[in-house]
Symmetry: C2
Subunit: 102 residues, 2 copies
């Protein structure tokens, strides 16, 4: 559990450089570098931008630590739902999945 906590939090802090929010470019770099083994199509900037907009509850254009933690919850639900369908685990499908969970 301790290792899992450190991994999840450090992924955020590495991309935010210690700040409390991720800007658009920082979020893009987080998705491309850290989620590329989880989702396909993370190179698609338009999909990543849509993902950020779905997560950005307070619509300030950034992803806060709380909003990132929501991402973790969505990713877990997405992975559980499509664990046997690797071809469905794309960034765009995930955007659609989040939009239905709101």
């Amino acid at each position: 559990m301790e290792a899992a906590i450190k991994t999840v939090v450090s992924v955020f802090l590495k991309s935010s450089k210690g700040k409390e929010n991720l800007g658009g470019k920082e979020f893009q770099s987080l998705v491309k570098s850290q989620l590329k083994n989880i989702l396909t199509g993370t190179e698609d900037n338009e999909a990543v931008k849509n993902m950020r907009q779905q997560l950005d509850n307070n619509e300030d254009g950034k992803v806060s630590f709380q909003e990132y933690m929501n991402l973790i919850g969505y990713l877990d639900a997405f992975l559980n739902t499509f664990q046997n369908s690797p071809y469905q685990r794309s960034a765009w499908h995930f955007v659609n999945f989040i939009s239905k969970m709101h």
Copy 2:
């Protein structure tokens, strides 16, 4: 990263039995079973109750998934601050630590 996400989320869902909130007893069982290797004194029900109250932002007596995710962030900060002071990693000290971060 995928394994870390699954660990962090499944710890919550295991204790909540799939529900969106942890009641007092469920939170107690989560702390006793999952955080005992991270914090000392997790057997102290009074400390655990205080921890729950510090996390319970909307004061409904329960710990929601979002409030649990805040716990993960606090734990990471706590562990980083006291990584070289294992004797300071107690449940009561953590309660005090959270109260100062609000």
